[in-house]
């Protein structure tokens, strides 16, 4: 029972799609909130547009609204559901902003909804820079000299007063979008004008730069009775200047004496009290390394990415406790769930070191600017725990799955000193490896400190890692002590194999023979002082094992590691459901994962959690300790699937589809043979081992062809090439073809894409739904708008798709999940890809069909057939609803990235548009995806010649709807000739005012830019797309998407948007 009387129903707002700066941490927070509310008997109404989340499951809330996160929608839901309370501090900045709008507009008051937890007043005090500054001045907490400006001129004026460098921070943005450090007037002009565009309140903060100081964070909590505690302190290895989301972070602080620590802790408590926050809060400081002078740089009056990290780092469930505080409990009244018998009103004490390393998308975006600064660029992060700093750091590096063997990267050994210097100075994502290489060469840590500002403590520790590596490389015969030293230091078997010139397996065998085995240590919030009940472990060497063998049968679920493009939160969703299903089947579930943001790494999700790298060594170690019945690999994305074979080779039981059958789907030649046998078509093509061969194959297939290296998955470096010249370019620049690294050359079938997720028990195949893509093939399925149920497919085609799915599933003896992607051309159905695992669309299909897909699949793996679970198999008739998945991109966070869509995936997240009919669902999808649907106004169209005819009816319709169409030379002439009214704007080389000026003017509703053939980025095209992205104007590069938007605009003229909870859709079957 909540302490606040009359609280029966509470609305929880989620954070929407995953974008850079706002990732899975809010699903973790929101899920904890829902659970905590339910624990108190409160009915939960949930709003989130992100379908890949656990929080939007129908069992998390009694009313789940998968609707766009707009004030209108929230107001609608409030009117409909009449909740007594609104919980908005767990849905990131998005949730907080919504709550503020509703409160300001008086809707909360009008509907009698209480804002739970932190009050509006407190939020505004923390978020409004001027008021924040005032408050800090009142309590004597120093903030850097700063001014709020609303024009570039003002910014320049103030910067002259306080002297450069200055930091520019736009008001109310995600992850500091549009901010930066300006060291001179020209830079300030550029950053300030961009920042103004992004700022929600059209204000900028210009601030004295404290770049180079230590960056320290405190996670603080306060209850309604003014009790305050700090949960965790964190120290960024990268000094102030790099966004904390892009910094390597250590918890607790390492280089602060008690005096400095308590000074900052006391400050944090003073701040949270002065602001009046109730719940979790994050305080960021800059601390002068040469004195005890400090500045408060930022306060987040809500649960944040840092609180998810702090929760996992300490074991303290910040979101859960924040929720209970919002219900009126004091910290002392809330039990500590880790120990079970102490209270939540305490400060966790750690007896290990935690290191977080960000995961950046630069492997996907090779051209992106990699320099780190105040704009966050990472998509995800990994965390590792160790009893020493070096072991935690190295484990985190291994967890990145970036093929880093260690801190020493072979290609860096070839760098010149000036190249390394540059990397140190510019601070990009690889700086830590550049540091390692410098140390290896004998550069002093003092000099590296001078260049990077990184504390000598950390550099010294890195140097010790390098020196231990050198010692091990030079020593021929290792004694037992050397082995133990290496493993205590965090060196992987893989790296030791590299030192010794033997295989990883040989190292493993030798290590085991010597008895050098990992032990597992518990995360207990109290450094062993109290008996703890948490089932949360990390590995260590040379110490006592705290692992308690269980007598119950158990199953391991491999998670999916850090969030990256192509492997997002949806796999965490699947891992969580698999863990739950295992428990429901009366087994213990054991989760291995390393992503601190997620629900799967909440110790409550599994019977036991191991926070470990998802590489063979660490996974095998856990398996050998736990001795499970088997391992589930289907839900952890490619990370887990890639481990299936090596695990099976070592005699570990892989549950579900066998490794041989997985291989038959993944190995190109075996897969071709399989389809041949089944007489199922796939786009023709073959493997080329040389440039010459590639050309020959392309010629015989006819252009365009789809080319990609055979050794990378997930569409990386995949391209459609339209001519021999482009093929040559591709082979020379993007991918080097060789005997060891062949290239696949396939015919590019231009047609409609369809995908199917199926569940098979080896005998029956259950197909919950088919999804049709709005964009034709050529756009990666993860970047396509996908529609359930299909809208344009003929029955005959559907039948063929179902037939193929069943036959492939049965032939592959699938036990569990299967995803197949098809392309349709005329009457022909081609199979493009078969994934013998959970796909990105599983959460969506599970939600909208009501079929618990992961649970069924997991239970099949545990030996129960579909029939035994009450499912007959076959294709389930489509539900009476339309669900449309809309990809969401983070292009505005990254510089120099090509925003046009192609076969390589680029989106970071997704939203769902859910409605009774197609056009309403599409409207919602667009709105939820962040599009503002213009009713009229100006648009820009620059259409490639090949697309002009196709674009004509679309553009004509826009003109008829009253839009003013701007176009550059060719397109304008074409439209004029066809009698469509158009205004001409100059190309870049034609001088100002040109097309980019037009975009910058801010008058455009959206931009249609179709790609010229191939990928050679036309300077203008690229500039146009980038300008649109940077000024937050939707840029559509596929005419199919344009068609969709057109129908949405038409529809929005006719109908109001209505809301309906998922439960109602599923009931009215």
């Amino acid at each position: 029972m909540p302490k606040i009387s009359g609280l029966k129903k509470v609305l929880v707002i989620g954070s929407g799609p995953i974008v850079i700066g706002q990732a899975a941490e809010f699903d973790y927070a929101g899920t904890q909130a829902c659970q905590a509310l339910k624990e108190e008997g409160v009915e939960v109404v949930l709003l989130n547009s992100n379908p890949a989340t656990i929080m939007t499951d129908t069992h998390m809330a009694s009313r789940v609204y998968l609707e766009p996160l707009t004030p209108e929608v929230v107001a609608e839901i409030i009117k409909k559901e009449k909740p007594q309370g609104l919980l908005a501090t767990l849905g990131g900045q998005v949730g907080l902003n919504l709550a503020m709008v509703l409160a300001r507009e008086g809707i909360l008051e009008q509907e009698g909804v209480k804002l739970l937890g932190t009050s509006l007043e407190a939020i505004e005090k923390a978020e409004d820079r001027e008021r924040f500054k005032e408050t800090m001045n009142e309590i004597g907490e120093p903030v850097p000299e700063s001014a709020i400006v609303s024009s570039v001129e003002e910014a320049l004026h103030f910067a002259e007063e306080i002297a450069y460098p200055v930091i520019v921070r736009p008001g109310y943005t995600l992850g500091g979008t549009g901010g930066g450090v300006a060291t001179n007037q020209a830079e300030l002009e550029e950053i300030a004008s961009k920042g103004l565009k992004y700022s929600m309140n059209k204000q900028l903060l210009i601030e004295r730069s404290v770049a180079g100081w230590k960056e320290i964070e405190f996670e603080v909590m306060r209850d309604g009775q003014d009790n305050c505690i700090t949960i965790c302190s964190m120290e960024n290895i990268d000094p102030v200047g790099i966004h904390t989301g892009d910094s390597i972070v250590v918890a607790p602080t390492q280089t602060l004496s008690d005096q400095d620590y308590q000074m900052l802790r006391s400050g944090a408590l003073k701040i949270i009290r002065a602001l009046g926050i109730e719940g979790g809060c994050n305080v960021q400081y800059a601390l002068d390394p040469q004195s005890s002078q400090y500045y408060v740089i930022e306060v987040n009056p809500r649960v944040s990415r840092s609180s998810a990290l702090a929760s996992k780092a300490t074991g303290y469930p910040i979101a859960k406790v924040t929720t209970k505080i919002a219900l009126g409990y004091t910290l002392a009244e809330i039990p500590n769930s880790v120990t079970g018998n102490t209270s939540a009103c305490f400060e966790p004490t750690l007896d290990y070191v935690v290191v977080k390393v960000p995961r950046w998308p630069f492997d996907k975006f090779a051209t992106a600017g990699r320099t780190l600064g105040s704009q966050m660029k990472a998509t995800g992060e990994v965390m590792a725990l160790g009893r020493t700093f070096s072991s935690a750091l190295l484990k985190a590096i291994h967890s990145l799955e970036m093929n880093f063997v260690s801190l020493i990267v072979p290609e860096f050994e070839r760098f010149s000193w000036s190249e390394l210097w540059q990397k140190l100075e510019a601070a990009d994502d690889e700086r830590i490896f550049a540091i390692a290489e410098c140390i290896r060469r004998g550069v002093s840590i003092e000099q590296i400190h001078q260049i990077t500002g990184i504390d000598l403590f950390f550099l010294d520790n890195i140097a010790e890692i390098i020196n231990l590596g050198l010692h091990l490389t030079q020593k021929k015969e290792w004694e037992l002590d050397d082995w133990i030293l290496a493993k205590k230091g965090g060196f992987s078997d893989f790296e030791l194999a590299h030192f010794k010139g033997v295989t990883e397996e040989e190292i493993r065998q030798e290590r085991k023979r010597l008895g050098v085995l990992p032990v597992y240590r518990m995360v207990d919030t109290c450094a062993g002082e109290f008996e703890a009940a948490t089932p949360y472990y990390y590995s260590s060497y040379g110490e006592e094992n705290e692992f308690q063998p269980s007598t119950k049968a158990r199953v391991v679920v491999l998670g999916s590691g850090p969030i990256r493009i192509g492997q997002g939160i949806e796999f965490d969703y699947c891992s969580v459901h698999s863990s739950w299903a295992i428990k429901e089947n009366d087994y213990e579930s054991i989760v291995i994962n390393n992503n601190p943001e997620t629900v799967s790494t909440d110790p409550d999700t599994s019977s036991r959690l191991y926070f470990e790298p998802l590489i063979l060594e660490n996974v095998l170690d856990v398996i050998e300790a736990e001795k499970p019945l088997g391992v589930v690999v289907q839900f952890g994305g490619q990370t887990a699937i890639n481990l299936a074979k090596p695990l099976a080779e070592r005699g570990i039981a892989i549950l579900g589809t066998s490794v041989d059958d997985i291989d038959r789907a993944e190995d190109r030649e075996k897969f071709d043979a399989l389809l041949e046998e089944l007489q199922i078509n796939r786009p023709r093509g073959s493997m080329a081992y040389s440039h010459h061969e590639a050309k020959r194959i392309a010629q015989s297939l006819g252009f365009p062809v789809l080319v990609r290296p055979s050794y990378v998955l997930g569409g990386r470096a995949m391209e459609i090439v339209y001519s021999e010249e482009e093929l040559t370019n591709y082979l020379e620049e993007a991918v080097r073809v060789s005997r060891e690294h062949p290239v696949l050359v396939d015919r590019y079938v231009l047609g409609k894409e369809v995908e199917v997720d199926a569940i098979c028990d080896g005998e029956r195949v259950l197909i919950p739904g088919i999804m049709e893509h709005l964009e034709r093939a050529g756009v990666h399925s993860g970047d396509s708008i996908a529609i359930y149920p299909p809208q344009t497919l003929e029955q005959k085609t559907i039948d063929t798709v179902l037939d193929y799915t069943e036959r492939i599933a049965l032939k592959l003896q699938v036990k569990g999940l299967l995803n197949i992607q098809f392309v349709l051309q005329g009457e022909k159905v081609y199979v493009i890809e078969v994934n013998p695992r959970a796909s990105r669309t599983v959460p969506i299909l599970s939600k909208v069909t009501g079929v618990p897909m992961v649970k069924l699949a997991t239970t099949i793996m545990l030996g129960k057939s579909l029939e035994e679970q009450g499912y007959a198999g076959g294709y389930l008739p489509p539900k009476n609803l339309t669900a449309i998945k809309m990809p969401v991109f983070s292009f505005n966070k990254l510089t120099n990235v090509e925003p046009s869509l192609g076969p390589e995936m680029k989106s970071t997240g997704e939203v769902l548009g859910l409605a009774d009919d197609f056009s309403m669902a599409l409207s919602k999808a667009f709105i939820a995806g962040g599009y503002k649907i213009p009713q009229q106004g100006e648009i820009l169209a620059t259409i490639a010649d090949k697309d002009k005819e196709e674009a004509l009816p679309l553009l004509r319709s826009f003109a008829e709807l009253g839009f003013t169409i701007w176009a550059t030379g060719g397109t304008a002439a074409f439209l004029e000739q066809k009698g469509v009214p158009v205004r001409k704007v100059g190309k870049l080389h034609e001088g100002s005012p040109h097309v980019v000026d037009l975009i910058r003017s801010g008058s455009l509703g959206f931009v249609i830019n179709s790609l010229t053939k191939g990928k050679q980025p036309m300077r203008d095209g690229f500039q146009i797309r980038r300008a649109a992205v940077e000024f937050n104007i939707p840029c559509l590069t596929s005419l199919d998407t344009v068609g969709g938007l057109l129908s949405v605009i038409r529809q929005s003229k006719e109908r109001e948007l209505t809301v309906k909870p998922l439960q109602d859709y599923l009931q009215s079957l």
Partner: protein, 370 residues
């Protein structure tokens, strides 16, 4: 060099020697705070102890002259997981290892401090010794023969000031009875405008009254309060004269005893940061602690003593107040050092009483008599 920590129950932990080569005997206790190793090593409460740090990385900030809580190390030895030899802090004067050597302290590193902590938690604080001798049978034998505090009963005698010291600045005269006070407590009082006179533990009431104190502080200190019972009549006398008394740590236990209380020993002590709840307000303070003994519930003169604070974890008594005079005491270190400083309000409150005592002619505690 190899080194061993051998506990009285025969359990051995092997590691590497740090500090001087030699032998250390002491009570093995664990400290769970993550910062403040220098303060703990120099805290007079650590007299006679071998301190186990549960946080694994120790020495990161080196050692400086300001963070000393007494003139030099008080602990007998330290037990850690990993020593930082290259400290990085602008105040650092030298690294921890060098400091240990200069203080003649024996230490041991590369120890599974978590396993050791859990062992002490389960089996209770016990004596132990750090040794570099390889004859383990001999070591165990020796450890098993150890007696409490190595036979030394009078820890306070070792740490109390040998002479009376008056710090001249400050307006309000306060006498601190030094049972093993930390420098930071004196600093905190002086910062509050108190003219502090530090007297030895054996100082009689008359001498104390000669300083015309407006308040008397019974400081923190090491060991068992039973060893310092000579102070009890002094305390009673001061209470009778209605001079405000603040007891801290050992001083708190003694005030309790003076008011009829008895003490008992905790299984494995409280060293680190602990939540303490103020009964009247429900307010919780995170406090800095370093003690083994606590006052027994309901052991006081019922009509004279009120329990004001309790430990949120184990409900043990953390603060009492003498109803008649308003004098009070707390089990923790309100000045922190190391640890949270939010409990400084308990110093502020005392200093307010001291100031009021001057104004009200000895009746400064009126507001506590409601």
């Amino acid at each position: 060099m190899k080194a061993y920590l051998c506990l009285q129950d025969g359990k051995i932990f092997a590691g590497k020697a740090i500090g001087i080569v030699g032998e250390a005997v002491g009570e093995v206790v664990y400290y769970t705070g993550m910062t403040g190793y220098q303060e703990i090593i120099t805290d007079p409460c650590s007299e006679g102890q071998i301190i186990v740090f549960t946080y694994p990385l120790i020495g990161n900030c080196g050692v400086n002259s300001v963070d000393e809580e007494s003139s030099g190390a008080r602990a007998k030895g330290i037990v850690i997981k990993e020593l930082s030899s290259n400290p990085s802090n602008y105040r650092a004067k030298e690294n921890l290892h060098k400091y240990l050597v200069s203080q003649g302290l024996v230490g041991i590193t590369d120890i599974d401090t978590r396993a050791l902590t859990k062992h002490l938690r389960r089996h209770g604080t016990m004596m132990g010794l750090i040794s570099m001798e390889d004859n383990l049978t001999e070591l165990v034998k020796k450890a098993k023969e150890l007696s409490v505090n190595n036979g030394e009963q009078q820890l306070v005698k070792k740490v109390t000031t040998k002479e009376t010291v008056t710090f001249p600045e400050g307006q309000y005269p306060v006498v601190v009875i030094d049972l093993g006070t930390k420098k930071s407590l004196l600093r905190a009082l002086r910062a509050r405008d108190c003219r502090v006179t530090l007297v030895g533990a054996a100082t009689g009431a008359e001498e104390i009254l000669n300083y015309q104190p407006q308040g008397v502080v019974l400081s923190n200190g090491p060991g068992n309060p039973e060893d310092v019972e000579d102070v009890l009549p002094v305390i009673k006398k001061i209470l009778q004269l209605n001079i405000p008394v603040l007891g801290i740590g050992l001083g708190h236990l003694l005030l309790g005893k003076a008011l009829g209380g008895t003490v008992y020993r905790l299984q494995s002590g409280h060293r680190g940061n602990y939540p303490v709840k103020e009964i009247k307000t429900g307010r919780v303070y995170q406090t800095s602690q370093n003690h083994d003994y606590v006052l027994r519930d309901d052991s006081f003169f019922a009509d004279e003593v009120e329990i004001t604070l309790r430990n949120l974890h184990d409900q043990s008594v953390e603060g009492i107040r003498h109803k008649m005079t308003g004098s009070y005491s707390v089990q923790f270190n309100p000045e922190g050092c190391p640890g949270p400083r939010e409990a400084e309000v308990f110093l502020d409150e005392f200093v307010e009483m001291v100031k009021g005592n001057q104004l009200g002619g000895g009746k400064g505690c009126l507001k506590y008599q409601d």
